[in-house]
């Protein structure tokens, strides 16, 4: 893949992360380096304990490396204060979680508005407009005022994706985003992710499900806190085709 003209959005330079557990030092990341370019759809795979979650926390600016450097959109994260990282998360990262993490008894629009609440440059009217736009983009234009407990798992995850998109982030970070969904709904999500990818969004999808890797443009495989393999996918499958091929749901 030609990366010459592409902008680097994420750069990890020998990132290490160690935890003190009792007397023992657990090395969760043992020198991870890679660059992710704008517009890539990257899956990060690995078994339990491979350092996936730790890496995700690093990428999401929830945590800082013990050593090494992480540049998000050219900004070094390691030396940032808590509040600076909060701001960075607010402006540059869209999180999508396995269990959706919507606010209970709150409407779809209000859930999507949430990140913009913590951005004082966005006024109320613009906030709502952008939230509605994001919801339309994920196909929930007719569910704006539905509360989170009145929606299905797939719909809730769409709200969560809309919430991740609403601040127009540099990267979308998905953590097992299809983990709680049935096969059909999972493929529907993949269709949505592929659509977002085509529209130019940079997506990092952390999963332990190897199947998903076939639908992304690049696969990073972690083992024991190190990169085991980092390959480009020349044969990206179309999720929409796969979805159509699924047996019709039985009523």
């Amino acid at each position: 893949m030609d990366t010459k003209d592409k902008k680097v959005v994420i750069e990890l330079q020998d990132v290490r992360r160690e935890f003190q557990v009792g007397d023992e030092v657990v090395k969760a990341l043992r020198g991870v380096s890679f660059k992710i370019y704008e517009g890539e759809f990257v899956t990060i795979q690995g078994t339990s304990g491979s350092g996936k979650s730790t890496l995700l926390n690093q990428l999401g600016c929830l945590d800082t490396p013990t050593s090494g450097e992480y540049l998000l959109d050219g900004v070094p994260v390691r030396t940032m204060t808590k509040n600076q990282r909060a701001k960075l998360r607010n402006r540059k990262i869209g999180f999508i979680f396995q269990n959706y993490n919507l606010l209970a008894k709150t409407t779809a629009v209000e859930n999507v508005e949430l990140p913009l609440m913590y951005n004082n440059k966005v006024k109320a009217q613009e906030r709502r407009e952008r939230a509605v736009k994001a919801l339309i983009e994920v196909g929930l234009g007719d569910r704006l005022e539905h509360k989170s407990n009145q929606m299905s798992g797939g719909q809730m995850q769409r709200v969560a994706i809309a919430r991740a998109l609403v601040n127009d982030p540099t990267i979308l970070l998905a953590d097992e985003a299809t983990g709680n969904l049935d096969t059909r709904t999972s493929f529907e999500m993949l269709v949505l992710f592929q659509k977002l990818h085509r529209e130019g969004h940079t997506i990092i999808f952390v999963t332990h499900n190897p199947e998903i890797a076939q639908y992304s443009s690049r696969n990073i495989f972690l083992r024991d806190g190190q990169i085991k393999s980092d390959t480009y996918n020349d044969n990206i499958l179309d999720a929409a085709t796969a979805l159509a091929a699924l047996p019709k749901p039985v009523d």
């Binding site: 929830l62 701001k87 998360r89 999180f95 609440m117 919430r163």
Partner: protein
């Protein structure tokens, strides 16, 4: 009408703020969080409600009693000034004031003629003993006074008339009789005025019956007395030339201090005291006594309020407890908010607003309950209550303070959560 308009404007402004700003949004989140746990929120509010109601009721009873005591005292006349002989030192020994003979006729005349801040003056000589009518007798006090005494002590005459200036001049054997004495001597009722009774073997004719004043706030029966012209008591009963005291009334209560200064000057001149000599008399005013009484009532109120305030402290701890539970319950939500960019400060403000909201709502309800209890106390138990306006403002302030103080630790805990752990908290 103006209030209504202002209320509407404030309500609209609050609504806009609530819909548009982060603070407003946070406020709505707090309201929602409380509404989602109605039972629990109410129980933690209950402590505040009881506490505030208790404080309000205690203050109201304290204030009410104080006002009723003040009223009692002012019935006796708030502008009364009493001059007594006193503080005489002889060879380093302080003398018993009642045996001193420093207040003389000249003093009375000087005060009566010279003092400009004094409205009424009456010299006083008193005695006590048995008073007899027929087969009935009773022990009572006799006060020898001038006519102006009636105005100073605000006595009114129910039957008959007062003795006259003529009676004072001639030291006539006449008296006014208090209701208690009248009841004792004339248990069968009937015409009292004109009857002649005997006091210490001196026959005196009753010219008037005093209207009852009842007991004063010290528990003294104010109607157990006879009032005679001071000349009668001095010359015919006691054969003395000095007064036991001189009662005056200042022009107004506010002029009491000037009146006291003036009296002091007059008496010092009369007694020819040197500049460095102590006064050989003492002057007290009713206003002074009222102050003493008020401050006593204030201390009692303070004790009651402090006791009630402890329940507020306990209520605050209750709120803190419930907020800590709430933080734990909503760990995941906190993690989410942090992951989308909320700072620790944003989170702590959210929880602070929630605890303030609980305590202030409790406070408002407490004030209402307090009002209700005061009504009940007044109508059922005839307790005098008066809710001071500032106590309501104080309640608000205290509730807000409780919300901040006891919300602080839970809010801090929430703000310090690690977003990584919080978001994965189950």
């Amino acid at each position: 009408m103006i209030f209504l308009i202002i209320t509407i404007i404030i309500a609209v402004a609050l609504y806009i703020v609530a819909r548009t700003t982060l603070l407003g949004m946070t406020f709505r989140v707090a309201v929602k969080a409380i509404a989602n746990n109605k039972g629990r929120s109410f129980l933690s509010m209950l402590g505040i409600i009881i506490g505030v109601a208790a404080v309000i009721v205690m203050m109201a009873i304290g204030q009410g009693s104080k006002e009723s005591v003040r009223q009692n005292i002012s019935q006796m006349g708030t502008n009364i000034i009493m001059v007594r002989p006193g503080a005489d030192m002889r060879g380093g020994v302080r003398q018993d004031p009642s045996s001193m003979q420093t207040l003389k006729m000249e003093d009375y005349e000087a005060i009566r003629d010279q003092a400009s801040y004094i409205m009424y003056t009456s010299p006083e000589v008193s005695s006590s003993g048995q008073v007899i009518y027929g087969a009935n007798n009773t022990n009572t006090s006799v006060y020898g006074e001038s006519l102006e005494y009636m105005d100073i002590k605000q006595w009114t005459i129910e039957e008959g008339t007062c003795f006259t200036e003529q009676d004072v001049q001639s030291a006539a054997k006449v008296c006014l009789i208090g209701q208690t004495v009248a009841k004792e001597l004339f248990p069968d009722g009937g015409e009292i005025v004109g009857k002649t009774i005997r006091f210490k073997s001196m026959p005196v004719r009753i010219v008037g019956v005093l209207k009852s004043k009842g007991y004063n706030s010290f528990g003294m029966d104010q109607d157990n007395l006879l009032i005679m012209p001071y000349t009668t008591v001095m010359k015919r009963l006691l054969a003395q030339t000095y007064f036991s005291s001189i009662n005056c009334s200042a022009l107004t209560e506010e002029m009491t201090d000037q009146a006291i200064d003036e009296l002091t000057t007059i008496l010092r001149n009369n007694h020819k005291l040197k500049a460095d000599a102590d006064d050989d008399f003492t002057i007290h005013s009713q206003a002074e006594m009222m102050e003493t009484m008020s401050s006593t009532m204030d201390s009692i109120t303070l004790i009651l309020v402090v006791a009630a305030a402890f329940s507020l402290l306990v209520a605050g701890i209750g709120i803190m407890n419930i907020m800590l539970v709430s933080v734990t319950e909503r760990t995941k939500e906190i993690g989410l908010r942090m992951s989308v960019g909320a700072r620790g400060l944003d989170i702590s403000i959210q929880f602070l607003i929630e605890s303030i909201l609980i305590s202030v709502t409790g406070g408002v309800l407490g004030i209402l309950v307090g009002f209700g209890l005061c009504q009940i106390a007044t109508s059922l138990f005839a307790l005098p209550t008066s809710i001071p306006g500032w106590s309501i403002i104080l309640s608000f302030a205290v509730c807000t303070l409780i919300g901040v103080l006891f919300g602080y630790i839970p809010a801090k805990k929430a703000a310090n959560l690690d977003p990584i752990e919080a978001i994965r908290y189950e």
